[in-house]
Amino acid sequence: MSTRNPQLNRNGELTHLLTLEGLPPAIITHILDTAEPFVSIAEREVKKVPLLRGKAMFNLFFENSTRTRTTFEIAAKRLSADVINLNIGASSTAKGETLLDTVDNLCAMNADLFVVRHSQSGAPHLIASHLTTTGREHVHVVNVGDGRHAHPTQGLLDLYTIRHYKQDFRALTVAVVGDILHSRVARSLIQGLTTMGVPEVRVVGPRTLLPTAVESLGVRVMNDMREGLRGVDVVVMLRLQNERMKGALLPSAGEYFKHYGLTSEKLALAKPDAIVMHPGPMNRGVEIDSPVADGARSVILPQVTFGIAVRMAVLSIVSAA
């Protein structure tokens, strides 16, 4: 087993995107720079460029997500790739086929790219190393959420959005608020922020929703939201993941909103030009109040637009490796 980063090929190029952990800052910057001109393709009469013409991208979603699957589909189509969506729940896996057998079968159909979401942490990594050990280096894997582990393209689009509005990462204080425990979005974002040199990343939430060793990610842990928002440049609200909650970690959604819901009154503690982000889908009245979500400092919808450009960048970079 080699010790090199499994996301990089022999020439140090990004060939799979599995996690932001351990990714060199130069590669993250390259992805963000590559995304920038892709934003304007949506404004053309023909919203498409021929970069990935003839490539077949398979959306392998072992866990549901309409939004992420759709944004990858749009990104791939704007690059002229062919997109095949597999409804895994209703297909071979349900009949007992293993993950790697599914991958082998799709490779026999000449897949070029796999976009993978799985409830098990490490599933995309397993596929990537299987492709390497079976000599299929021309096939690429993009992780779009594995268990509680990582969601690197969401982390990258958050970084893109922050850089778009705030330019210099090295002068920022960022607060990530809410259900950190269940959030692969938070984990990827925190890794990205620290890699890009953000001097202060705060995680804010109730003790029951913070992982035990969260400080090891290089963040400041704060349980009081008002304290946590004081003087920040960026507020990232996380969705309260009801469907992931096992057992009573919280008294009620109403109680949660009272302490950790973002209201105009709490946002007033942040810097006057602070931006508000949310990875979606939002629970209005649970983690965020409507006047904030729809307010002047919300950049939640630009995040979605930038997300397509960032995914185009990732697809076009790994495909060329």
């Binding site: 304007s40 460029v49 970069l51």
Partner: protein
């Protein structure tokens, strides 16, 4: 070719302006291919009579060598501030070699609309075509060995110059 045998880029630009004057439509849009072509399109717009809108095109997404060379890192935004449909467009490039960049640029233009006419203006035609593409207007012709590349640069004052260097990659 030795450096002192190279023609002067500013003289080539003056020759190009003279060939275009009176021949190019008074309202033709000048679309420069990044980066050298963009500089030349701006100079032509300033020096030619008529009303010439300037546009910029980066052909990175339309190149035919993506599989070989990947995507370059500093892609610029293509920006065409006029309606391509029905427009007379002069594509402008610094050096015409294989013709592949021009092919890519023509394809890209058609994704913005259906132009009335497309012409091609180049500062230097160095020969070596791999596609049936020729310049409508040309500043100077050079015979240069295939393994060398002809590079146009611009100093901070805006003056253009020509150099011949060992090729670093794709033409």
């Amino acid at each position: 070719m030795t450096p002192d045998a190279l023609p002067d880029a500013e003289a080539a630009l003056r020759a190009l302006v003279e060939r275009m004057r009176g021949a190019v439509a008074y309202d033709a849009a000048l679309v420069g291919i990044y980066s050298g072509g963009a500089w030349i399109a701006e100079r032509l717009a300033a020096e030619l009579p008529g009303e010439h809108k300037v546009g910029y095109i980066d052909v990175a997404y339309y190149r035919d060598d993506y599989e070989i060379s990947g995507l370059k890192s500093n892609v610029r935004r293509t920006s065409l501030s006029f309606d391509v449909s029905g427009a007379t467009i002069v594509l402008v490039d610094d050096v015409l070699f294989t013709g592949r960049s021009v092919r890519a640029a023509i394809n890209e233009l058609f994704d913005f609309g259906r132009p009335e006419r497309i012409e091609l203006a180049v500062l230097v035609d160095r020969g070596g075509r791999e596609l049936p593409i020729e310049a409508t207007y040309c500043g100077v012709r050079l015979a240069v060995a295939r393994e060398l590349s002809v590079v146009v640069s611009r100093d901070p004052g805006g003056t253009l110059s020509l150099a011949v260097e060992p090729a670093s990659g794709a033409a």
